[in-house]
Amino acid sequence: MDLVQLQRQFVDYRTSLYHEGFLDEQFTQLQELQDENNPDFVVEVVSLFFEDSERLLNELARALEQQSIDYKRIDAHVHQLKGSSSSIGAQRVQKVCIAFRNYCEEQNVEGCLKCLQQVRHEYSLVKTKLESLFQVRLPCRREIFFLSKMVLP
């Protein structure tokens, strides 16, 4: 595969992710933190994010099924999810989390359930996007990394 082509593909794809609002500056900064000493940093962080988020989403679903809903706990979970999503720059997930927390404060069950649905949707979206992004990257991680260093401001 042509390196230049790959590079363009990668950059285009990432730009589209920024444009569609899936990712924000934070992701860029995350990428900046990756260097020779820590070559798999972004992938590690992102997979940690997936792991964490899936666990949290399951917890949330379970908590919302309960007879008496413990809103405090839900709030803590959503806060966690919000923190981690903002850390990797998944801003759409983060935004839904903010709405989720508002509903949680109002103790609105329907709102919470709706938000959980949305969070799930956004999460799966960003997951597929990021996975495909890494799929593009993974074969030639090193090269891409250097390129991205050059391309990024």
Partner: protein
Amino acid sequence: MLCCWIASMMSMNCLINCQFKCTEASLLGDSGTKMWFKCWDIISTYSFKIHHHYYQFIGSKRVSKTWWRKLLLSWVIGWTVVSIWIFCYMSSQATEKRRETLASMCDERARMLQDQFNVSMNHIQAMSILISTFHHGKNPSAIDQMTFARYTERTAFERPLTSGVAYAVRVLHSEREQFEKHQGWTIKRMDTLEKNPVHKDDYNPDLFEPSPIQEEYAPVIFAQDIISHVISIDLLSGKEDRENVLRARKSGKGVLTAPFPLLKTNRLGVILTFAVYKRDLPSNATPNERIQATNGYLGGVFDVESLVEKLLHQLASKQTILVNVLDTTNRSYPISMYGSNASDDGLELVSHLNFGDPFRKHEMRCRFKQKPPWPWLAITTSIGILVIALLVGHIFHAAVNRIAKVEDDCHKMMELKKQAEAADVAKSQFLATVSHEIRTPMNGVLGMLHMLMDTDLDVTQLDYVRTAQASGKALVALINEVLDQAKIESGKLELEEVQFDLRAVLDDVLSLFSGKAQDKGVELAVFISDQVPETLIGDPGRFRQIITNLMGNSIKFTEKGHIHVTVHLVEEVIDSIEVETESSSNNTLSGFPVADRLQSWKGFRTFSQEGSIHPFSDSINIIVSVEDTGEGIPIEAQSRVFTPFMQVGPSISRTHGGTGIGLSISKCLVNLMKGEIGFVSIPKIGSTFTFTAGFTSGSSSSKEYKSQQINNQTNSVSSEFRGKRALVVDPRSVRAKVSRYHIQRLGIHVEVVSDWKQGLSSISQGGSAFNMVLIEQEVWDQDLNGSAHFIDNLEKRAITTPKVFLLSNSISSSRANTTTSGVCNLTVIPKPLRASMLAASLQRAMGDGNKGNPRNGELPSLSLQNLLPGRKILIVDDNNVNLKVAAGALKKYGADVVSASRGMEAIELLTPPHRFDACFMDIQMPEMDGFEATKRIRDSEQNINDRIHFGELSVETYNNISNWHVPILAMTADVIQATHEECLRRIRSESVGRTSVHDLLMASVQPPLLWHALRYLNKSQFFPREKNVFL
């Protein structure tokens, strides 16, 4: 309240009036009394109610308004009633008076009539005695018609009321013929006459018929000429006369007939009849005896009409009243004897007349001729009172309306005022928010610019970046000023209460301006009195801000001369006011004249009321003066110096820049510090700004506070200089004082001389040797020969040759001079003098310096990569992803990162001894949040520090660190005001308790801010208390 008072006064007045009137009414009129009491009752209950309601609804406008209306209505009605009553009363008084007048007039007339009648009657009685004596008592009779007529005619004046007198004899039927013969006429009867009344003209006695036969007759034999026509007429034949005659002879008294039209004249008259008896009768004789003894009858005709008229003529004011005289023997048919019968329903008064006949009753009725006049007095009085009452009512009404209107207006104004204030607050809040919002990204911009400067740049680029950074800093400074102003205006600004070193603050400020001052060639000096304590508790940042503002202004407007900052205790200044006044104007720092600073605190309250200073409290009031020799403030602009955004003139901002907000902020800050600010300024000479500020003394607990690093430094240095002696050669006492102050701070004993000679003498005679001689550059330059001589002598005379220093204002010129003078061991100390600078210079010169201490502000340049070389950092966050990212970020800069996901873990890890250099902690964590964890860490650190301090624990086991205090930085993703404030609050509350925890910082994981945080961390090795919160 005023309204209420008026209302109460009014009702009181009303009550009093009413009461008064009521008593009056009860005295004068009966009918009115009840009504008045009723009225009073109503009014008093009303007024009570009004009071009650007014107090109850004093706030409610509408209710009070209706009550006012009711009160007004009752007022008007009340006074209308009062005026009507007054009218009635006065008119009745007038009527009464009229009646009384009429009564007295009537009575007077009646009495006169009665008197005159009695006189006439008496005379007639006398005449009857005359007749009985001369007619019947003598035989032949001594009286004939002629004699009688003449006598009666002559004595008529004595009987003004009688129109004629006649005498009739009693003739029995048996004697009739003889009598008729003797008299020569027959007895005639008069009843036909009564039936056919004849006219006066054709009256003829011969027409009378002869009397019919009767038992007895009473023919008239004598008569006055006027009534001579009645001679021979038998009185008993006339109905009236007969009754009269019979009654007269029965009673023996004069009797009267009812009024009847007289014969011939046809006018109304009455006839008085007296009986003439043959012999004297006893007073208690029976009627029969009287009848038997009767000889004849004397009758007098009273022409009542003419009589009364005559009588009335005699009296004045006859025309004002009408008089009627009536015979009321028969009550139901009173017979009018005199006066017109015009019936008038006006005022009529009756007086009884007694004419001596008990059988007949007469009365006199009097009336006024005119109708009673209109009671103008009563009308005008009552109308006047009504008008006054109405006017008063109108005035009250108008007043109430006015008050209501004013109240309404006032309410409106209040509303508007509230709105305006709200708008003002909103403006301030908006300003505060906006400037805060601007500041946040600006920090990012500045941080990035700084990062940019660390990269490889060529000269031009570096210049651009520097310019950009300078502009950015200026912008931030401006925003900070605006934010301060806004905060002050919205009352949000609070002062800190921390311990600080005043001298260090002033040294700092001095260093800030030293460059500018040197560029301009302006001498800058700070003098702090010895009595000002080392440490004070207050807000050093704000204090510094005030000083910076004032000095900044001074620097801006001063081209030559000096800027002199002096700090004293207020008490000290008060005590020494008299001493200060004698200081001459040319005894100043640079020799230029200055504005007298005494004038600047003339208006201060602290000085006017010394009682406000409590000597026993630990509050410390300091007074700071900033004196310059600038261009001064024009007199016309002096009044608005402290108004925000006001500058001396529009051109000023063009020549000198600035927003004109600084002095206003300074004033507010001074006020917050319970102080005052004032100034005196003389154009072309200079200005002196003076302010006072209240702090609390920090000496008592100073050991618990970490004193500032710079102070430590000087302290450590000063221990080297302690006990040494210095000589200052300076002819100007003020400047020498400043030099001495700074040198003394290093623990050096200072002696001041004014010229070379004195200097030499003090050196030669001084017991202990001087270690150093500091010479003012001015002295040096003035007399180069003298200085050379001095240096020569110095080496000869002194036991150990002291080092010689030159105190110089500008470095370049002094260097030039030094070289020309050729003295090699001369060290130049650049002004402005500061303890640290002085110490460094002295150290260097004394040979034992050269420790390689970096100068203030000259931090080792930091680059991103070697910012955290091998430092061990703990990161605490419950979020794995965040933990990872933060750890990644810190690792990138070479740090050795340890992660912890819970607060408890962090506490365990950070319990001394440990090897962590810093800790980054998430604020929001489950189980235990960042604040709580920090608090616990601090507690355990404090505990261990104390135990080490008291020797319970050996320092060796704790890595030889006796003071454990790991910097903890707060991490949060949402950089919002609330969290920031919360951090500040927490920090404050903790610092009040034990040790200052000024290290809870806000940091996001975003690189620019992170970079700042790291930079702070690095810096904190040198200045742990430089700044509380970093954003």
